[in-house]
């Protein structure tokens, strides 16, 4: 910038007058800039200070307990004689015996119900998306949200009343058709098969919820273009729709798996905490239902759950981003 020239001098050069004018105009502006930038510099820390309550809250009530799980998973449970120390025993024990069975059960249960829910959920979502009117899809989406997110305990009792030991369907079948659900059909509500049936009751709605935006994003023009090029309906689905939906469906599978894997309330209410899956075992260990010296085993199981859920959720987010590229 030009140095300030005071206009009182003998300077008559017209070009310089302009410069002087310009200079004298710019100067206060520069001053103002300096003032605001210094003010901004001062303001930034103040604004950041406003984040402290939130960060502190999340730190204390979320990160601290999560960290405590990870920390305790590697600590031996201290007693009077032996203070707690670093150990891998909890992790080792968590992968052995009854806890190993629980882990395998959990993974099998979640995987099977997630796969079934994906296979059944896609056609159902398609049927809902293509139905006429707005009321019906609206009702379906709110009902799905209730079952998928807020089902929990009530779901267990719906099924106990229906196909439980003294459920209406169980007794009706036994009285009139002389069919016993458990011995004749191999169905036991309080065991693996029953849990799959009940889990599907919240996983299929979850699938409908997460896949609906993807299905709605399939543009009719794509189908028309495929038809114009001579593609059959099957070819359109196989060569156009399937590749577009694939990341979304795979992502949904991961999400459903995590949802089933983390579910606690339904299984606990249904089996009174007796069935061997990881969440119920964590509860059992925390309530002292464990061998002496293995008190911290629950945290190792909890860490195991994080180790399973965390990468799958990240993969789900990445797949969602990939899907959203197409479905704008």
């Amino acid at each position: 910038m030009q140095p300030m020239v005071d206009g009182s001098g003998l300077d008559t050069d017209p070009t310089r007058v302009g410069e002087v004018m310009e200079g004298s105009e710019v100067q206060p502006a520069a001053d103002r800039n300096r003032w605001t930038s210094s003010q901004r510099r001062r303001r930034v820390p103040v604004a950041w200070l406003g984040l402290i309550p939130f960060l502190g809250y999340v730190g204390v009530f979320f990160l601290l307990p999560t960290g405590a799980v990870v920390w305790s998973a590697f600590r031996s449970s201290g007693s009077a004689g032996a203070p707690s120390s670093f150990t891998l025993a909890n992790i080792r024990d968590a992968l052995q015996g009854v806890y190993r069975t629980a882990t395998i059960n959990s993974i099998e249960l979640s995987l099977l119900s997630a796969v079934i829910a994906v296979v059944l959920g896609v056609p159902l979502a398609w049927a809902v998306v293509t139905s006429k009117g707005r009321t019906f899809p609206g009702i379906v989406s709110t009902a799905s949200a209730v079952l998928a997110n807020f089902g929990g305990v009530p779901l267990a009792f719906l099924f106990i009343a229906t196909v439980g030991t003294s459920g209406l369907l169980t007794t009706t079948l036994a009285d009139h058709l002389h069919v016993n659900l458990k011995s004749d059909l191999g169905f036991d509500l309080y065991s693996f098969s029953g849990l799959v049936l009940v889990y599907l009751y919240f996983l299929i709605p979850l699938m409908v919820l997460v896949i609906t935006p993807a299905l709605e994003g399939l543009k009719p023009q794509w189908q028309e273009a495929a038809q114009n090029l001579g593609a059959s309906r099957w070819q359109y689905w196989r060569l156009v729709a399937a590749p577009i939906l694939a990341p979304s469906i795979l992502g949904s599978l991961l999400l459903l798996f995590c949802s089933a894997f983390s579910a606690f309330a339904t299984a606990d209410a249904l089996t009174s905490g007796a069935f061997a899956i990881v969440p119920l075992k964590i509860h059992a260990v925390l309530s002292g239902n464990v061998l002496a010296g293995q008190e911290n085993l629950g945290y190792a199981l909890a860490l195991l759950m994080i180790v399973v859920v965390l990468p799958l959720t990240i993969a789900y987010q990445l797949l969602q981003q990939r899907t959203s590229k197409w479905l704008r």
Partner: protein, 297 residues
């Protein structure tokens, strides 16, 4: 885990292809919907019949529904859940709304971090969080020493604040998305500039300019938190507090019909709440659309 109703559907999507739908496709659709209806409405219907059916004398009675208020212990647990829900909603809004406004208006750079923090509870299953709280509350500094009194106050059985404080964490992903959607739909920065130009102080600005357009979003967040707290079971049962859902499972064990009736009612209440949220969202959408139309005309 968090997947809520996609409210306000655009309704413009696939149906173009439906016009020339072949009959077999239509049959396939009907069969799919019918099977789904059987699976989803079936247990509900049977359970409802189970809850009103009088096994001893035959016939139908609505005793389980009309008599809920007189069941000993039930109202205590329900009141506790309501108190927790109120506490959760207040803490949630007081904590989240100012922070989100601050991030939106002044610290946009912090936005991704904020979003990640709010969605992080999704990767930690509630049972794991419960285990963590269990570990923290049982740790040395909180069982003896100056912090012990605070910790034991938080675990008061009549109103366990620790549950409300943790429910805020559980609802963060839901409520963050609800409020974020509300904030994205209005131009907060312009509103702030306009109000500041007209001489509004920050408190006036917040109460009279920023919060009114966010009303619906805040209401949604509140309703979602309410639904979540009312149905929450995992944390409460592991930390051993008899909230509504825990009461249904434990104390209700002697009366299967009551358990079933309460389950149906709690699902029903949640559903009504979500429908109300949908209606709010719908009406707001309609209003903003009509404003836009007026503008272009």
């Amino acid at each position: 885990m968090v997947a809520l109703a996609q409210t306000g559907r655009t309704g413009a999507a696939p149906p173009a292809a439906t016009r020339r739908r072949r009959p077999q496709v239509r049959v396939g659709r009907s069969v799919t919907l019918l099977l789904a209806a059987i699976y989803f409405i079936g247990p509900l219907g049977v359970a409802f019949w189970f809850s009103i059916h009088d096994r001893l004398h035959g016939g139908v009675r609505f005793h389980e529904y009309t008599g809920v208020f007189s069941v000993p212990g039930l109202m205590d647990s329900f009141t506790l859940s309501l108190k927790l829900a109120a506490a959760t909603i207040v803490i949630l809004l007081v904590l989240l709304v100012p922070t989100m406004l601050l991030v939106q208006l002044r610290l946009p750079r912090f936005r991704p971090i904020m979003e990640t923090l709010c969605l992080m509870p999704l990767v930690v299953p509630p049972v794991v969080l419960a285990a963590g709280i269990f570990a923290v509350l049982g740790s040395g500094p909180l069982t003896s020493g100056p912090l012990a009194t605070i910790a034991s106050d938080l675990q008061e059985t009549s109103l366990p604040w620790i549950l409300a404080l943790e429910y805020v964490i559980l609802t963060l992903p839901f409520s963050y998305r609800a409020i974020d959607a509300g904030m994205r739909s209005i131009d907060l920065a312009t509103l702030v500039k306009a109000a500041r130009n007209l001489g509004a102080s920050w408190p006036t600005l917040t109460v009279r300019v920023l919060l009114p357009p966010l009303r619906t979003a805040l209401l949604n967040a509140g309703f979602l938190a309410f639904a979540l707290v009312l149905g929450e079971y995992t944390l409460a049962t592991i930390l051993q507090y008899t909230v509504f859902s825990v009461w249904i499972v434990t104390a209700g064990q002697t009366d299967g019909q009551l358990q079933t009736a309460l389950s149906i009612m709690s699902l029903g209440v949640t559903w009504v709440l979500l429908i109300v949220i949908g209606l709010f969202a719908g009406s707001r959408k309609g209003r903003s659309r009509s404003i836009r139309r007026r503008k272009t005309a």
